[in-house]
Symmetry: C2
């Protein structure tokens, strides 16, 4: 079942309606790369039709989230971001604090952590859409180089 079909079905099941605006927001969610903000999705929608309001975009994104068609992502910059959830299901992310790049984190990495936590605390972690900050390989290496340089410079002086 395609995303659109899922959306229509879920709407119908609740007595809600499939409108052109809702269709356009879903399309924009597919088309905009990365993890767009509501504003960015709104801009894409505006390319399709000029008189759609951003409040409609927000309202539609709320629905898509409820239906598990998008995940909400927080990169800690005070703006909500949205990510399309296709057949692949939930995604987990690593955010490099230094370069700002977002890296996907495969499910396998999460599952060990999840079961360890379930065993020790009885807590069922649910990391859908969670963004884990840190330093990526490249930035970590750069930082180590810098520390090395500082040390050797210190020794010379």
């Amino acid at each position: 079942m395609s995303c659109e079909e899922v959306f229509v079905k879920q709407l119908r099941d609740r007595g809600l309606r499939y409108t052109p605006q809702r269709e356009m927001v879903l399309q924009a969610v597919h088309e905009v790369k990365g993890q767009p903000t509501a504003e960015e999705i709104y801009e894409r929608v505006r390319q399709l039709s000029t008189c759609v309001d951003i409040s409609t975009v927000y309202r539609t994104l709320d629905l898509l989230q409820e239906f598990n068609l998008v995940a909400v992502i927080d990169l800690g910059d005070g703006q909500r971001r949205y990510e399309h959830l296709g057949a692949h299901g939930p995604r987990y992310h690593l955010l490099c604090r230094s370069c700002g790049q977002l890296f996907p984190l495969p499910e396998e990495e999460i599952s060990h952590f999840r079961s360890a936590l379930a065993a020790s605390h009885g807590f069922a972690v649910d990391l859908d859409g969670v963004v884990l900050p840190g330093l990526c390989q490249a930035c970590l290496a750069a930082r180590e180089d810098e520390a090395e340089n500082t040390r050797s410079r210190g020794a010379e002086e």
Copy 2:
């Protein structure tokens, strides 16, 4: 070295000043339980002195964060929260999506996850102040009971 001493030293190192307002904000951070918002810290400060402005509180909290004396916590309710970082160092949290309770997550649980990730992706996760959502033991049990009841009721009818 006490928090206050660290704060004063860090300020001096940057040519910044130790003012009564900054002292009171640090004190409030120690005294308010849990993970207070800027507003809550502000209220505590106001008990000490009536004419301190909330913008000063925000500005001081920014400094304390830079100096690693507080961690910033996001419980996903659109309000930044602050947590005092004492000698114990960074804290990790589990947030129950159902009852809203916050549970501490000991360092040991994190470290396996961190080394696994470092080995597989070369990414150094840094979960200081990160809040991992999920379901706590009690809410998980309650949910399972409910599912059980629904099933047996369904069978009766």
